[in-house]
Symmetry: C2
């Protein structure tokens, strides 16, 4: 096992990839209403009177109505969806959000909440002329209790900003995403973001202790509990986690943060078959146990995209599979001993064929860069069809060769690749082509969803349903559950103004 050296990989300058992408070569995407054949809901249209009301709430400086200013909110960072909102509002307080929503509800004006605009399912961009409510100025940290580890903040705090704040106090955010330089905690919560640390710290349903959200009618639901245990009635906060702003707008979050580990180690491994990958998973859970904090899988095709499109070099020899294993713990000697033992066993039993180990922060960052910039690398092929599914470890990778085989005679397909959060059973299946092809798309969907559903997987592991996947919900949820979702939506947002066209499948698809 070699130690990483500084010349192995290009250095990481920044990880704000969504912003970086925005400046790239992409042209204006078609309007989502055309791409997804959506009919506008029965909502009112914005008038000067509404603009005056909004100005009274947020003032002139926190309202955008110029087409050029609004454009960045109409389009997602992938340049895959586009709406035609004419108005972006930037409230700073819960009271302002409440006043905005109250007015919109009374007027039947549809709204689209937006955080860092880093979503992958088109959930945070308008489809028609929805009023965009951006949480970007709701970026105050309200409190942090170093005894309980509970952080309370406004929804617009950027994940990386929170992370830096906590690190200074010896704590850590329980989630980490590639988009952390831009994504906001309110958006993370609303999409139930997963990310790289879920294997260790669990999902937001476990770590988020309290939520304050504003309902469509402007009512504030204050469930901003800061206790790890609170069994006083229905656990309403979970309705807002993962409902992508369709049931209410999350304004504040209380989240439990773990103590920052004193030691961090990473191993980048090469394996020559999927059977070996499964063996490595099993022994990592056994040998690393409580210190395993990330277990990522990448296939050769994904790595090739990073090498070719980003000119990054991978520090070990070519293999069909690569794993990135991170440990974090409270004692560096113990952690290194556990990791070394795991790696020695794995080499001895021929589970891995090559590997590199790092404990210095800059080296760790470099090793993770390959994994974190994979979506960006693939996007540089031209067009990216990206699928985010969960599958049992046994079935996890099969979806890649199966899809590759299925697409082998479809013209224009460049790469079919798979990588993802293996420790959580979450794989990102990616297909690229030079430009968008309807034929390729028709060959991928519903094929990929049907296959996933057949194996008991989830058709959206962590990216959510947003606009793009509403037609796929029924692959994972029975009609009774979809009906219940609609009933809850009707109770909480009877006029349907909150982020319409998103998440909920049409009743007849149920």
């Amino acid at each position: 096992m070699r130690k990483a050296t500084s010349n192995v990989l290009h250095s990481v300058t920044q990880r704000h990839w969504p912003l970086k992408i925005r400046t790239a070569k992409y042209s204006t995407p078609p309007l989502s209403k055309d791409t997804y054949k959506i009919k506008r809901g029965n909502f009112a249209s914005l008038t000067d009177k509404d603009i005056n009301v909004f100005e009274g709430i947020v003032g002139k400086t926190r309202m955008l109505t110029d087409v050029s200013d609004v454009e960045a909110y109409n389009v997602d960072w992938l340049h895959s969806v586009r709406g035609s909102s004419q108005c972006v509002l930037k409230p700073k307080t819960t009271e302002e959000v409440s006043a905005i929503l109250k007015h919109c509800n009374e007027r039947r004006l549809a709204v689209c909440p937006q955080g860092g605009n880093t979503g992958l399912a088109g959930g945070s961009n308008p489809v028609f002329d929805e009023v965009v409510i951006s949480t970007s100025l709701m970026n105050k940290i309200i409190s942090f209790d170093s005894l309980s580890g509970v952080l309370t903040c406004q929804a617009g705090c950027v994940l990386e900003q929170l992370e830096s704040y906590l690190l200074e106090q010896g704590f850590l955010m329980p989630l980490d995403l590639g988009a952390k330089g831009s994504c906001q905690i309110g958006g993370n919560v609303s999409t139930n973001a997963g990310g790289l640390r879920l294997v260790r710290y669990g999902s937001l349903h476990g770590t988020v202790l309290g939520i304050e959200a504003v309902l469509a009618n402007g009512e504030v639901i204050n469930c901003l509990n800061k206790m790890k245990k609170d069994n006083t009635g229905y656990h309403l906060k979970h309705l807002f986690i993962g409902s992508e702003g369709t049931l209410g707008l999350v304004t504040q979050v209380a989240i439990h943060c773990p103590v920052s580990p004193k030691s961090l180690n990473v191993a980048f491994l090469g394996l020559d078959s999927y059977e070996k990958v499964l063996e490595a998973l099993k022994s990592s859970k056994k040998d690393l146990g409580e210190i395993l904090s990330s277990c990522e899988l990448m296939d050769r095709t994904s790595i090739q995209a990073v090498e070719e499109n980003l000119k990054l070099r991978v520090p070990i020899k070519d293999c069909p599979f690569y794993m990135l294993i991170e440990t974090s713990g409270s004692n560096s000697d113990h952690d290194e001993e556990k990791l070394s033992q795991f790696l020695e066993n794995a080499l001895e039993k021929n589970i891995i064929v090559d590997g590199i180990q790092a404990s210095e922060p800059s080296r760790i960052k470099q090793l993770f860069e390959v994994r974190e910039r994979m979506a960006e690398a693939l996007l540089l092929d031209g067009f990216l069809y990206t699928y985010d599914v969960s599958l049992k470890p046994q079935d996890f990778y099969s979806i890649v060769p199966t899809t590759r085989e299925h697409l082998k005679n479809v013209p224009g397909v460049m790469r079919v690749t798979g990588f993802g959060h293996f420790g959580d059973g979450n794989i990102h299946l990616n297909i690229t082509s030079k430009e968008y092809s309807k034929e390729i798309m028709n060959n991928i969907e519903p094929f990929v969803y049907e296959w996933t559903s057949k194996f008991g997987g989830s058709v959206s592991a962590e990216h959510g349903i947003g606009l793009k996947k509403t037609g796929a919900v029924h692959f994972c949820k029975p009609p009774q559950a979809i009906q219940l979702m609609h009933q809850i939506k009707n109770v909480m947002d009877p006029n349907g103004i909150m982020n319409p066209y998103k998440v909920l499948p049409a009743i007849n698809s149920a």
Copy 2:
């Protein structure tokens, strides 16, 4: 630091304390409808025709109608509530549950779901003549996947049965309760039980991956997802976690189980002030980090109850406070080194004054017995007023001396004690008297709730609301949240047949 020896504590014979208590000296409690002044809802009454329908569903052998047979289901193990159900049904399958509920809903017959009848808030006993649906025969383990760690089982599986099953395969249930010999996983989920391992493995909202539940109208909501990540629409399962059977009856559960630790260590510590207790918490989080799996606090008065009423002896010298710290991990050398280091530091800095350490399973069990049998010991005083609140670590213990002071002139008060899951901010405040006293009760409530609410705590940390605490919900939830709870109840159970009189406060108390 001494090592535990075998003569320190009496040996543990069994931990099925709810069953044990049932055979004790308690007489028949008054009817709950009288104790809590409840008016019967507008439900139908059971007829011979209904009995015939039920017999058609579950057969004669799985239906109890004899007063003496039904009695055990009408009364809780604390002998604090009593209903007058005339009929207990014991379905074995989801289909049977569905058929029962469909009939009850059409007939407007109220039902009361019951698991192991180990609840502490009267949530699983009828109040009037509700039909009891016992899940005790729904006790099949459906599947376990040793690669993903996901266990799927019926709601009636007893927690200890699941634990034994998993231990054989090298895994662990992510929750552990004193009542594990009797409590059922469906009841655990329905009350969002916390217990001793929450500090390590998090709450059921994080570990439960999927739920199958039957709605009041008999419709089966199959959200029995087995993936750690699934973002396909609203996260409905959380509506059933902690709603105590008022929104539906949980029939199956899929839960993520951690790999069983290879090493387990326990330290039983004595401390001479609450300031030292806070210091011990801080250093345990820092020094033990990822291996800390339990952090319990007990005060001298609680320990005295165990010594006097159960004749158990505590292995260290008398102190105002005691802590029980458990570590579990994948490497015994590492764990012991971490724990020793923590203890040495704590002794050196005078954080602890005495302590005992154990790693042998039988010794660990003995040390835990003191903590686990505390409720039982207090109950032997005669009558137990028990409160389960969450508070910030800074405020955690203040509720005990504050309550003691408040009750100092109230006749009949025997003990005012506090113990609990310190690592999670969850304290059990207990007051005992020889027999029930209205005067004592009136002096405790709402005093305790008001105080907790003032300090931002939760008036029910893990025991739930059940029947006993419906009047206390508004101390933790604003009127808007309570209204939303009612709206959701109305959507999911429009006839209100599911576990009536429980959880939801009257609208006017909102």
